[in-house]
């Protein structure tokens, strides 16, 4: 251990256009960097991340025989991998790279104090140099991938993903907790915007799944335990008969769907027979059991878009209400149908047209405000009177109705919580599965090898769920197609001589990467470890070290921050 006396450090300092250069005196920082120990080269770049900047790094490595590279620019979270790969391509182990974030931490945080920002940038570069001198090359372990996938949930999303994966040549297992495939679409009558029969769309897909030799379907089954990691998941499935089945898969897709919120106690639901949900209405329509209503009132956002609680908009309810309203009109043209809404969500290319059709079809739309929501004011002879403040008219109106249909949001399955713990993937604030990055990784989890699609992710309609399902059929196929993967090199290492076997790390590890061996000593499964460092930080014996963040390296950085001489 200790300083590599042969360390030849190159420092590349980014202007980021004016993002950094507009505040920090970059040339000054470059000159300063040149004075630091082991720094043999330093330069400024307009954008170090541009293809030009990347070639500058590579040229620098070749020309000055660099064996350590520092980039002082933005955040390693977005740009670290790019620079690391550049180092690797130029023959420097990518763990001999270090980054200083002089954008977020200097030019952005201190934009009105350019001199101090420049001084701080020098401090950060000095700290990076202090660490770089101590960096060691690391290797990423290679693992084999089991060329099969597990799809949890046999609704339209899960089946679409499974078929697509099977067509790509991979073995697929579908685990469905219910007795048969189909999910939410089994309960629906027609699907918007095409008004096609749900079972006519669903059945060919379900049959294709059943007859595909590459797909194994286990119904009445739930995932009980998942061990392992990307490429090598060991899944324990509990069957309906109580027996357990074990599966080995390379990737896992969560397509568990969502359920309809039951609005108990809202608008007399549960008290009056004539107050039902949209899903109940849909089932009456499907079975042909809807009795001729005189006047139907549909109320949107029941239990959705709340100030607290279910804060979200459930996306599908406006179109679903319009669809069902049109179906009622088709069946009973003389029935009056009112839709009481807050903001109509008839977004996109086709849905607005349905809204206009519905209006032309004499469906009444009344906009209410959340401050003055509709209420049921009286009941007489099975008829309920709804009072609503019509914000367009600017006055209260009362509608006597013999059928009140509540549009309630899709909510996560109760079992979502348990599954999230089994898979060690997070749920978001509203209880839906939470993706790795809202914008650019919308169907990945942060945990490698596990993906999400359909309404398990958030409310969405059939076409949107299907699009996402095809999406995960690509994401989950990438590792399977590659057959081998490289995993994280920045992992935890346990010093066996110091470990007391207290088990603190085993409990704390969010990835389940640590177990106690026969001797009671903590063991890290390297390929599962993500290098988060929770174990190292909490080990009472200080028996755990993190590769790339050793005590020695971190201490050297801290001392450099305090302006102490290099150790």
């Amino acid at each position: 251990m200790g300083v590599d006396e042969k360390a030849r450090i190159g420092v590349f300092i980014c202007h980021c256009g004016t993002n950094i250069g507009g505040v920090v005196d970059v040339p000054k920082v470059v000159e300063y960097a040149k004075t630091l120990p082991n720094v043999v080269y330093a330069e400024a770049n307009l954008y170090t991340c541009s293809s030009e900047g990347i070639s500058k790094i590579k040229e620098g490595i070749a020309k000055y025989n660099l064996n350590r590279v520092i980039v002082a620019s933005c955040t390693p979270r977005t740009h670290g991998p790019l620079f690391r790969t550049a180092c690797e391509e130029a023959g420097v182990n990518k763990y001999l790279f270090e980054m200083a974030n002089i954008r977020d931490q200097c030019s952005w945080a201190h934009m009105h104090e350019p001199e101090k920002a420049t001084e701080k940038a020098k401090d950060l570069v000095r700290m990076a140099v202090a660490k770089a001198r101590l960096l060691k090359p690391l290797e990423e372990p290679e693992i084999d991938v089991t060329p099969s996938a597990l799809v949890i949930g046999g609704g339209i999303s899960g089946m679409t993903a499974a078929l697509c994966l099977a067509h790509q040549g991979f073995k697929v297992h579908i685990i469905e907790k219910g007795p048969e495939l189909g999910g939410m679409l089994k309960h629906l009558y027609r699907l918007y915007p095409t008004m096609e029969d749900a079972s006519e769309k669903l059945n060919p897909i379900a049959n294709a799944v059943k007859s595909n030799k590459g797909i194994d379907v286990l119904t009445s089954s739930v995932v009980k335990q998942v061990k392992g990691f990307i490429g090598n998941f060991e899944v324990t499935v509990q069957r309906g008969n109580g027996e357990n089945t074990n599966l080995n898969v390379g990737t896992i897709i969560v397509a568990t769907g969502a359920v309809d919120f039951e609005p108990v106690g809202m608008y007399g639901y549960g008290r009056y027979d004539s107050v039902i949900t949209q899903l109940q209405l849909e089932q009456l329509l499907k079975k042909g059991e809807l009795k001729r209503p005189e006047r139907v009132v549909m109320i949107q956002c029941v239990g959705a878009r709340e100030e607290k609680g279910r804060t979200y908009c459930s996306r599908i309810c406006c179109m679903n209400a319009i669809k069902n309203a049109l179906l009622i009109k088709e069946l009973y043209p003389e029935a009056d149908v009112y839709i009481l809404f807050r903001d109509l969500q008839t977004y996109g290319r086709e849905y607005e047209g349905y809204y206009l059709d519905a209006r032309r079809g004499f469906i009444e739309f009344i906009k209410y405000t959340p401050e003055r929501p509709p209420e049921i004011v009286s009941e007489l002879g099975g008829k309920l009177t709804v009072r609503v403040y019509d914000s367009l008219l600017g006055s209260d109106i009362e509608i006597e109705s013999d059928l009140i249909v509540l549009s309630t949001p899709l909510v996560p399955h109760e079992e979502a919580k348990e599954l999230s713990q089994v898979l060690k993937v997070p749920l978001g604030p509203n209880g839906f599965f939470f993706e790795a990055h809202v914008k650019l990784r919308p169907i990945d989890f942060a945990t490698d090898g596990i993906y999400v699609c359909g309404t398990a992710h958030s409310p969405k309609d059939t076409a949107e769920s299907v699009s996402q399902a095809f999406g995960v059929a690509s994401r989950a196929a990438i590792p399977l197609a590659l057959k081998h993967l490289r995993t994280e090199a920045i992992t935890a290492v346990v010093d066996e001589n110091l470990c007391s076997g207290c088990g603190t790390c085993v409990k704390l590890c969010p990835y389940g990467a640590i177990e106690k061996d026969d001797m009671g000593i903590a063991r890290v499964t390297e390929v599962v470890c993500k290098g988060c460092g929770v174990c190292a930080a909490s080990c009472p014996e200080r028996a755990i070290a993190m590769h790339h963040f050793t005590d020695e390296q971190v201490t050297a950085q801290a001392l450099a921050a305090l302006g102490r001489t290099f150790v």
Binding site: G17, T18, N19, G22, S50, S51, E52, T75, T78, H79, L82, T160, C164, H167, Q168, L191, T194, E196, R305, T311, Y312, C313, R315, D343, Q345, Y347, G348, R349, E350, E352, G353, K367, T369, S391, G394, P429, H437, V438, K439, L440, R441, P442, I443, C453, S458, T462, A463, E464, V466, S467, Q468, A469, F470, G471, V472, A473, S474, R475, I478, L482
Partner: protein, 439 residues
């Protein structure tokens, strides 16, 4: 000679890039073709993205570079598809590589030539608000980072040729034809903006301080024409009140576009938040028809804008915008449909949120690819519900905004979907030796 496993991706925006990266990452050969000088698409022009307020370029740039550097991706920027023949599993594609008048191998993208070029033209990347030269790099993070000479505006004075240290300028460069054989084609041509001049009562084009949302986005951006300072273009003054107008040309029942563009309520809210972050004293109003809050975290984002930042939402569609000739203020007349009555509000800057429309080239491309368009020129899905990514032609897939209005995560997920569909075709195509590469 290589196996016929190539995929052509048309359009280098976020959807095209995601589809390319998914396919390349699994070991398939991708040709990513982009008509403009750089990949990046619309997302490159954005300052931040809703509802997470991620810096758009910061999350996009690494992906752009990845597309450039990926050993399985061949990037063909400044190129257009001319002819396609064959069928799924075996398409022959003729591509026109337009002359940049620059030797790409020699150009370092240093931009010295642009400093000396005497011709200034409106910069497309800044929606015409700033200027670029006739020889230019469209934006600093452009990929590939190569100069382009815009033939239309170049005076052929030869100054750049003399100044270029790398000797990269080649004023005699000719268009090049590249012939490819691929198994699958993915179309991801994105969107354009409805021309707000068509709603003449809003004064766009007549009043300098009536901007489109994408122009305003460039104004917000640190890399934009004002370096991220929000000022009135007419007099450089810092605006005290900014009013957004939703559904300009969209949700229209009078001959413009009837559909909803899906993203405007949210990006207007994002831009409103950014105004408040730049200048908390600036008042911001959003005049809307219905707040479209249907995505994950959208309602919560609007709540935050309203409750924490004081952005004011008014349901109402303006009838006119007029400029007070003396004060320069813009007077917006609208009907408030909740508080009731015809109201007027003064603003010193108005941001129009125009309909987003399919790109003009879609018609040409639809003919070349023999695929169907809908009445608005979006590419038509084979089956709305179950095959939203397929087109009427087997082996040709669509994703992103060109398939229908959607936001970034929906485009990304669908792009991965297109990659999966492409991989299905490749997996089912008998592997034969096919002539491949440029000609």
């Amino acid at each position: 000679m290589s196996k016929n496993e190539g995929i052509l991706v048309i359009g280098g925006g976020i959807a095209g890039m995601q589809a390319s990266l998914d396919l390349a990452d699994r070991g398939l050969k991708v040709y990513l073709i982009e008509k403009s000088p750089s990949i990046g698409g619309r997302m490159a022009q954005l300052d931040k993205t809703f509802p997470t307020m991620d810096c758009s370029m910061c999350i996009l740039a690494p992906k752009m570079i990845e597309c450039l550097r990926h050993p399985n991706i061949t990037l063909l920027a400044y190129s257009e598809v001319q002819e396609v023949s064959g069928s799924a599993g075996n398409f022959t594609v003729k591509i026109l590589k337009k002359p940049r008048f620059i030797d790409e191998d020699k150009c370092t993208g240093c931009g010295v030539c642009a400093q000396h070029c005497p011709v200034e033209v409106p910069n497309e990347f800044d929606m015409g608000l700033g200027f670029r030269k006739a020889i230019y790099v469209p934006f600093p993070q452009a990929v590939p980072l190569k100069c382009t000479i815009d033939e239309e505006n170049c005076l052929k004075c030869g100054l750049c040729e003399r100044i270029c240290g790398a000797g990269a300028v080649d004023l005699d460069q000719q268009p090049e034809i590249v012939n490819l054989t691929v198994g699958v084609i993915i179309v991801a041509t994105g969107f354009e903006l409805f021309d707000s001049r068509r709603i003449s009562e809003y004064g766009y084009g007549r009043y300098q301080d009536v901007l489109t949302s994408l122009e305003f986005e460039r104004l917000l951006s640190a890399s934009g024409p004002t370096g991220g300072h929000i000022v009135r273009l007419s007099d450089g003054r810092i605006p005290r009140r900014i009013v957004f107008i939703q559904c300009v040309g969209s949700r229209s029942q009078r001959g413009e576009l009837p559909y909803c563009s899906s993203v405007c309520c949210m990006y207007a809210t994002k831009e409103a938040l950014l105004i408040k972050e730049h200048n908390p004293k600036c008042e911001v109003y959003i005049l809307y028809m219905d707040l479209r809050v249907f995505g994950k975290g959208f309602q919560e984002f609007i709540n935050k804008a309203r409750d924490e930042y004081g952005v004011k939402y008014i349901k109402g569609r303006p009838s006119s915008i007029e400029k007070d000739p003396e004060t320069g203020e813009l007077l917006i007349r609208y009907e408030d449909t909740i508080e009731h009555g015809i109201r007027e509000i003064e603003a010193d800057l108005v941001v129009l949120c125009p309909a987003l429309i399919p790109t003009r080239d879609n018609r040409k491309l639809a003919k070349i690819l023999n695929i169907e368009l809908d009445e608005y020129d979006f590419f038509k899905a084979e089956d709305t519900l179950l095959a939203p990514i397929n087109t009427s032609a087997p082996g040709v897939f669509i994703c992103g905004y060109c398939q229908g209005p959607k936001d970034i995560p929906e485009s990304v997920a669908q792009a991965s979907g297109a990659a999966a569909r492409a991989a299905e075709i490749i997996a089912s195509t008998p592997k034969g030796e096919v002539k491949n590469g440029s000609g």
